[in-house]
């Protein structure tokens, strides 16, 4: 039986549709219930919904053999897992955004508000730019408007929220999408079922 951690929410439902299309369905998963774990013994899968940012932890710690996590989470937390497939869904980008017309004053330390401190630090450190990270857990866009930061590093999907707050993308750091990840030890002992699942999901990805 493969234990699969799926991210709660719209992305998780989209990803589950891919798994179901690939022959690993578990209809009870979409029913409104208080259940947290869903089995389909015939298909050899057990699903559970978890907070998107926790999927990688469940997989790294072996509670799940495989899972689906955003590349943003993988880059930020660097879990020791295999990244087997780019599912090509949940596409967006990690970007630097600033108030419209912003000009970076290289004589000053750049104040960067973000939920993704490691990604921001790595990005600016590669450029040799001195920054002050302001770690926030949400509503990042408000930080430069209130003068808390000069720029933000955040996920941008359509850019609507940025535009509505008179912010604009000034740099794209990395494209983001959902990735199929596997526990390293689990992969050694469940190689055949994991490979079979990856092969079938790959066919679904190719149809997107």
């Amino acid at each position: 039986m493969l234990n699969i951690a799926l991210p709660k929410g719209r992305l998780g439902e989209k990803v589950y549709a891919m798994f179901a299309g690939a022959g690993f369905e578990c209809p009870a998963l979409l029913e409104n219930s208080r259940k947290l774990i869903f089995d389909n013994e015939a298909a050899g899968v057990r699903y559970f919904w978890v907070k998107p940012s926790d999927v990688a932890i469940y997989v790294e710690r072996g509670a799940a053999d495989i899972g689906v996590a955003g590349k943003d989470i993988l880059l930020e937390y660097r879990p020791d897992v295999y990244e087997l497939l780019d599912l090509n869904v949940g596409k967006c980008r990690m970007a630097v955004a600033a108030p419209e017309g912003f000009r970076d004053d290289m004589n000053r330390t750049l104040r960067v508000a973000t939920k993704f401190s490691r990604i921001a630090r790595d990005y600016y450190s590669a450029m040799g730019r001195d920054i002050d990270i302001i770690h926030l857990n949400g509503s990042i866009e408000i930080a430069p408007i209130l003068g808390l930061s000069d720029v933000i590093v955040d996920i941008v999907e359509t850019g609507t929220t940025l535009r509505e707050n008179h912010l604009e993308v000034i740099e794209t750091i990395v494209p983001i999408s959902a990735r199929l990840v596997a526990n390293k030890a689990g992969f050694k002992f469940k190689t055949e079922p994991i490979e079979r699942l990856v092969q079938e999901i790959r066919k679904e990805v190719e149809q997107i």
Partner: protein
């Protein structure tokens, strides 16, 4: 006085059995102080499993560290032994920053280091000891073996610089083949140039199934000598009960500033990460002014807490 088995906990019992195993192969115990000058670790940060080191100022003003690693101390304090082989084992506590939380953890390691005129026979013996160590811990185990010089040959033919090389090697360790293709496109590497590397990384499993293909691919790209080394290293398992437990997998990587040749990791069913890690580290020896060659591994005893009762072989 004989110590009764029941007064030992699982980790202690396995620790002592591993020591007996290594001693039986002619390895002698290496004891060391808990402290080492911090400078040793600051010069070899990338060799350590974690970045954090606990430091303090000694009574004579020297900046000291609680040992985060054993191998560096053994290399630093040893002397070259031309024409000879020095076989050592240790059973020590190390102090490392936990990867997922703040703070440090004390971890117990048992391991072996084989230094000196190390040849294919010594590497094969260390691999055999690694497999036997895993078997002592649990019945269901896997030892995965890679060859860093072979892998590097395939990476170096496409990577234009060290930064790209590092990114590709990281993807190799994650079995992230789509990531390798993306990096190649982003850095203007010709489409398809990465295909041999991707093919190599796709060749994993039992040696008898994958070695013929690895040999032929390696010969095509000028790495036949490394494939032959890998082949010889796993040959001693052929026909033994360990044969099916030993797998070739090039995702077992290591920092090539320190490691070269054979690299390996050990896994036990029911434990989420690798419980054993090792390989040849001639490059570390050169960096520390040593001419000897070296190979070794460590077993992380703390990881064994996760073993379920039915999985253990120490009960």
């Amino acid at each position: 006085m004989q110590i009764e088995d029941q007064v030992l906990d699982g980790q202690e019992r396995i620790g002592f059995r591993l020591r007996a195993l290594y001693s039986g192969y002619g390895y002698s115990r290496y004891r060391m102080s808990k402290f080492e000058e911090y400078d040793l670790y600051s010069r070899n940060k990338d060799f350590l499993f974690s970045e954090g080191v606990i430091t303090f100022t000694d009574t004579n003003g020297r900046l000291m560290a609680l040992k985060p690693d054993v191998t560096l101390s053994i290399v630093k304090n040893g002397r070259d032994t031309p024409g000879q082989i020095r076989k050592l084992y240790y059973h020590e506590n190390v102090y490392r920053a936990a990867s997922t939380e703040d703070g440090f953890r004390e971890q117990t390691q048992v391991g072996v280091e084989c230094m000196g005129d190390v040849d294919g026979g010594s590497v094969a013996e260390v691999l055999k000891l690694a497999a036997e160590s895993l078997r002592l811990c649990a019945a269901d185990y896997v030892l995965e073996i890679s060859h860093l010089d072979l892998l590097s040959t395939f990476v170096d033919r496409i990577a234009p610089d060290d930064a790209v090389r590092g990114m590709i090697l990281q993807c190799a360790g994650e079995k992230n083949l789509h990531g390798i293709r993306r990096i190649c496109r982003e850095h203007g590497i010709a489409v398809g140039a990465e295909d041999p590397l991707v093919e190599l990384l796709g060749l994993y499993g039992r040696a008898r199934s994958v070695m013929p293909k690895i040999r032929s691919l390696a010969e095509e790209y000028g790495a036949g000598e490394y494939a032959a080394e890998l082949s010889r290293a796993v040959a001693s398992f052929a026909g033994t009960e360990m044969e099916d437990r030993v797998q070739i997998d090039f995702s077992a990587t290591g920092d090539t500033k320190y490691y070269n040749g054979i690299a390996f990791k050990g896994f036990l069913s029911g434990v989420p990460g690798s419980v054993l890690s090792g390989g040849q580290y001639d490059h570390l020896m050169r960096r520390m002014g040593r001419r000897d060659r070296a190979v070794g591994f460590a077993v992380f005893l703390n990881m064994l807490e996760r073993l379920t009762e039915e999985g253990r072989t120490d009960a």
